[in-house]
Symmetry: C4
Subunit: 232 residues, 4 copies
Amino acid sequence: MSKYKELKRSCYEANMELRAQGLVVYTFGNVSEVDRSKGHFAIKPSGIPYKDLHAEDMVIVDFDNNIIEGDLRPSSDTKTHAWLYRNWSKIGGIAHTHATFSVSWAQAQKDIPIYGTTHADHLTKDIPCVQCMSDHLIRGDYEHNTGIQITECFEERSLDYQEVSMILVGNHGPFTWGKDANAAVYHSKILEVIAEMAYRTLQINPEAVPLKDSLIQKHYERKHGKDAYYGQ
Amino acid sequence: MSKYKELKRSCYEANMELRAQGLVVYTFGNVSEVDRSKGHFAIKPSGIPYKDLHAEDMVIVDFDNNIIEGDLRPSSDTKTHAWLYRNWSKIGGIAHTHATFSVSWAQAQKDIPIYGTTHADHLTKDIPCVQCMSDHLIRGDYEHNTGIQITECFEERSLDYQEVSMILVGNHGPFTWGKDANAAVYHSKILEVIAEMAYRTLQINPEAVPLKDSLIQKHYERKHGKDAYYGQ
Amino acid sequence: MSKYKELKRSCYEANMELRAQGLVVYTFGNVSEVDRSKGHFAIKPSGIPYKDLHAEDMVIVDFDNNIIEGDLRPSSDTKTHAWLYRNWSKIGGIAHTHATFSVSWAQAQKDIPIYGTTHADHLTKDIPCVQCMSDHLIRGDYEHNTGIQITECFEERSLDYQEVSMILVGNHGPFTWGKDANAAVYHSKILEVIAEMAYRTLQINPEAVPLKDSLIQKHYERKHGKDAYYGQ
Amino acid sequence: MSKYKELKRSCYEANMELRAQGLVVYTFGNVSEVDRSKGHFAIKPSGIPYKDLHAEDMVIVDFDNNIIEGDLRPSSDTKTHAWLYRNWSKIGGIAHTHATFSVSWAQAQKDIPIYGTTHADHLTKDIPCVQCMSDHLIRGDYEHNTGIQITECFEERSLDYQEVSMILVGNHGPFTWGKDANAAVYHSKILEVIAEMAYRTLQINPEAVPLKDSLIQKHYERKHGKDAYYGQ
């Protein structure tokens, strides 16, 4: 029996949750989960419809993109996942979706402004939209370079990946992460909810102003600060 | 057996209805119901996903925010509920959601104009959006101050909380209330329906004009007036 | 046993279909069906939630609004139905909904322009939105006057109620009709589909132009003309 | 037993999938599948609601629009299908829907610009919207002329029907195709997803710019090129 059985199951369930939450159709999107002790991660195989997916189909890959276990080809976005796991040591799961509102902001090439407490309950910053990479990088090792593009964006903007657990890749779509695959999918859904609310806010009031800083801090701190009183 | 068993069950069912009506995801939102004879109310525990919620998890709290019964921490919005129960003696239930269109109007910091009879069937006024409180109040006893913010808004605008059973807290989201928890949830859904219709009305006709006064009165009175002929 | 049993059942099923098609929530809306041989119609009782409705609850009313059979109060819109049955002898069922896009056009006080063949498959005219009635009429026999408002609008615009089986009452919402209750509900859904498509067409292209006349005629005639070849 | 039994079943299932994917209501839309060895295709009968449809109801037609087998009248769009099968020898299935966002772009008479990788994963061109045909052609053999209109549009724009498997017929709606009926329906859904994202992109940013060419090529090639590495 595979020593990755539990990791595959967890990764599989998170992938299926993408569909249950309405964030993907057909073969779109992918979720991975890492086993830090082994330095390997499980990821959805490429191009398999969710309805035909099984836990044992998950592919085990290392951070150099070598297949460790599995008969199927891993997601075409595997190199992006590997780069993020290698560089951000505190994340345990990554998700990529084609959710409608998230993708629409990415296609519009706009950061999502922080308009309300639903957003501030989860992060204190605008959700970054990183611009398209250069033609040179696209024609090179594209998925690897997408990973670099994401980590560089966080460095340039001085963002903390443990607070801001989501990004929009311009003209493409969202990547999100968290302590495990399930948390990554949770952040994909939260991002979609925030993206829809920001979209509709702008339709009602194109001059809408961001949330004031005191309220951003209040909502974030009551849930994530050292004196947090949200949750059990 | 708890003497609050029935109150908890009623409160629990109203919380679950929030999700069934599509007004919340994950742990978002909360509903409470009061027992006026005891001066205590039941409220959703903080940060528990709806799918994991049980009737016995409801927390019993008094109007000074003391926990009377329950092992879990009550909703982080508990002080807002306590303030409203203390000040508005005729309400029996309160609901708070993150419903998409309601939140979007709150984020846009706009009252919802009364554009049609769906709105006038329920209330004769624009749905108020109270502006953000001062930094001083946010950094103070925030959830208590949110309660004050709501009752002050009603005083300033001379609104009757028994007619206008809903408010948008600017940049945050809706609070609604009613004779019991179920009625509060009903008003959350009605608010969301009105919010969506007003949103789409404005997209079709940015110059849309509010409903004329005679029609507002007609629809409200036929349902709620002394000679009402709507319903049984 | 009631001699109206079959009429009530048919009316009840059409009412339930309103909810199944997503055109109403809670107690919103109503459908009626007439028995021309008796001069009586069955209609939903007022203010009963769809989930609590039974076939035997349908109320039998004549064209003068007298209750012929039933223990419940009929829909508050009963007089509008009665007027339409009295004046338009070829209709067998009437539906009234609060469907989102239909109501939004009514609140925007705009006719729905004929932008495409989905519209022309059903009618060759813009869907009329009749303006609010005068204060005098609102304060009078309101629901009766709503009926008059509808038939007068059709006369003024020279519309044929057998072709144009739908209207928007300004600031209020849609009324639709057909050969029976089921057809009336079908037209409520078709109206909502057309209303959504027209809404989105305008968002994409505010300068969108109506369908050309030859295409309107082609699509309408192939489905409803004397040489129709759509359907069996 | 009919020698078309398997073809009818496949065609039937694809028609039902139109409804399962939310692309049609009532009797709207139609799907066909061809048997190239026989030169015949199966198509949905005209005007039958999906809920009443059976596999044996599918009608078998040749490329000259003669009914080969079946008691029902075939879809009113049959001649459009026949023309496309006759002229485009590599397609095995065709679908026509009234999906909301696809129709709205058709009614707006706009090509759908290629704004993101979701689009580029499937085709490298804007999705063409062919303008209304002349009155003369509409009044002639309309559905046959719709087929001509589609193939001429592809010739004029030098589009490859094996790459661009979808078109919007102006003021009408989408036609899509593929290697079989199932693939045609898949493309109808993909078109609707792309149409919704492009719609929302424009609402967020009316100045949104198309995807750069290097990224279009990258995404299309990694899925469909000779060195494709998407899928198994």
